[in-house]
C-alpha cells in the first residue's frame, strides 16, 4: 500500500463544547441588563420619542402609571389610566399615591417619582387630569417616560 491511502487518525467532528458557554454568556448578559416585566399592560403603549432625556437615579422610588387606549375593545375606546395591573379611576389616584408612598422608607417618602407612560395618540386632557390629581396628592416629581429620539443624520 502506498502511504497516501493511509487513513487519517484525526476525528472529523467540530468540538461544540464551547457552544453552551457562549450561550450562557449571552443569557447572563440579558439577565443582568433587563428587568422582569412587572405589570401586565392593558393599554396601548407606543411612547413618543424625545431628544434630551434624563435618567432616573433610583428605580425603587418610581411608580408607574400607564395611560392610553385600552387594548381590549370591551373597555371602550376612550383613553384610560392603568396602575398596577388594573384600570384606575381619577378619584382613586390620590389613594393610589398614598399606597405607593407607604411602600417607601421614611426618608425617601418625598423623593417619590411618578413615571407616566403615555401613548402618543392620547390627548392632553387626561394627562393634565392625572397631573392635577398628582398635585393634590403631593406627588410632585413626575417624569414623562420616553425613549431616545434617534435623529436622521444628514
Amino acid at each position: 500500500m502506498s502511504k497516501f491511502k493511509k487513513k487519517s487518525q484525526s476525528s472529523q467532528d467540530i468540538p461544540t463544547a464551547a457552544l453552551p458557554d457562549i450561550i450562557f454568556m449571552l443569557l447572563f448578559f440579558f439577565m443582568v441588563t433587563t428587568v422582569i416585566r412587572e405589570d401586565e399592560i392593558l393599554v396601548e403603549q407606543s411612547l413618543p420619542a424625545a431628544e434630551d432625556i434624563t435618567k432616573l437615579e433610583r428605580k425603587s422610588l418610581v411608580s408607574y402609571l400607564y395611560v392610553g387606549q385600552p387594548k381590549e375593545a370591551k373597555f371602550g375606546t376612550e383613553p384610560l389610566v392603568q396602575a398596577n395591573d388594573a384600570f384606575i379611576r381619577m378619584d382613586e389616584l390620590i389613594l393610589w399615591v398614598t399606597q405607593e408612598r407607604d411602600k417607601l422608607d421614611e426618608v425617601d417618602k418625598n423623593q417619590m417619582t411618578v413615571s407616566l407612560k403615555v401613548d402618543k395618540e392620547t390627548k392632553m386632557g387626561i394627562v393634565s387630569d392625572v397631573q392635577q390629581e398628582l398635585r393634590e396628592a403631593n406627588a410632585l416629581k413626575i417624569m414623562y417616560n420616553t425613549p431616545q429620539l434617534v435623529k436622521d443624520d444628514i
Binding site: D52, T54, K120, L134, R135
Partner: protein, 189 residues
Amino acid sequence: MARSKNRGNQEVNAGSMADIAFLLLIFFLVTTQINSDKGLQIKLPPPLDPTQPPPDIKMKDRNIFKILINSNDQLLVEDEPLNDPYALRDMVHEFITNNGVDPKQSDSPQDAVVSIKADRGTSYELFVQVLDNAQGAYYKARGGVLGISGEEYLGLDAKKPDEEKMIDRAKDAYPMRISIAEPNKLGGQ
C-alpha cells in the same frame, strides 16, 4: 501499558447543553424588557391652598416666553404662529441667554420663564416635542456655561464630586423655569 492504548474519546456530549441554554435564553428574551427608565422629568407646582386667594404674581411680559398649543396641534409662540416645533430649541435658547440685550427677550436667565399652555385636545406627542425642545434649550445653555454641548452636559454624573460641582454651577446660571399651565377646555377631548 494495556490501558493507555484506548484512551482517545472520553468527552461528554455537550450538544444538548447548548439546547438547554438556548431555551433559557429565549425564555428571558420573551419575558423581559430592556430597562428604559428615561424621559423628561419635571416638577409640578405644589397644590394651591383653597383657603388662600391665589397669589398675584407680577412679571414683566418680556420675561415670559409664551408657547400656546391649540387642539389642532397648531403652535402659537410669542403671539406668532410656528409650524416646526424643533425651531423652538433655538428660539428658547436665544430667549434665556439674552441677558437684557434685546428688549423683547428676557432680562436674565433667573427671571426668564418658559410657559407652555396646551389645550385639552392637544396631542401628547406634540406636547412632548415642545417640552423636549424647551428643556433641550436649557441643557444647551447650561452646557454653554461649562463650555460643553448640551449632550455632554446630560452625560455628566452627579455622583462624582467634581462633576456635581459643574452641574450645580450650570444650574445656578440657568435655573430651569418651565411652567406648564393648566389646559383650557375649548377644544374638548
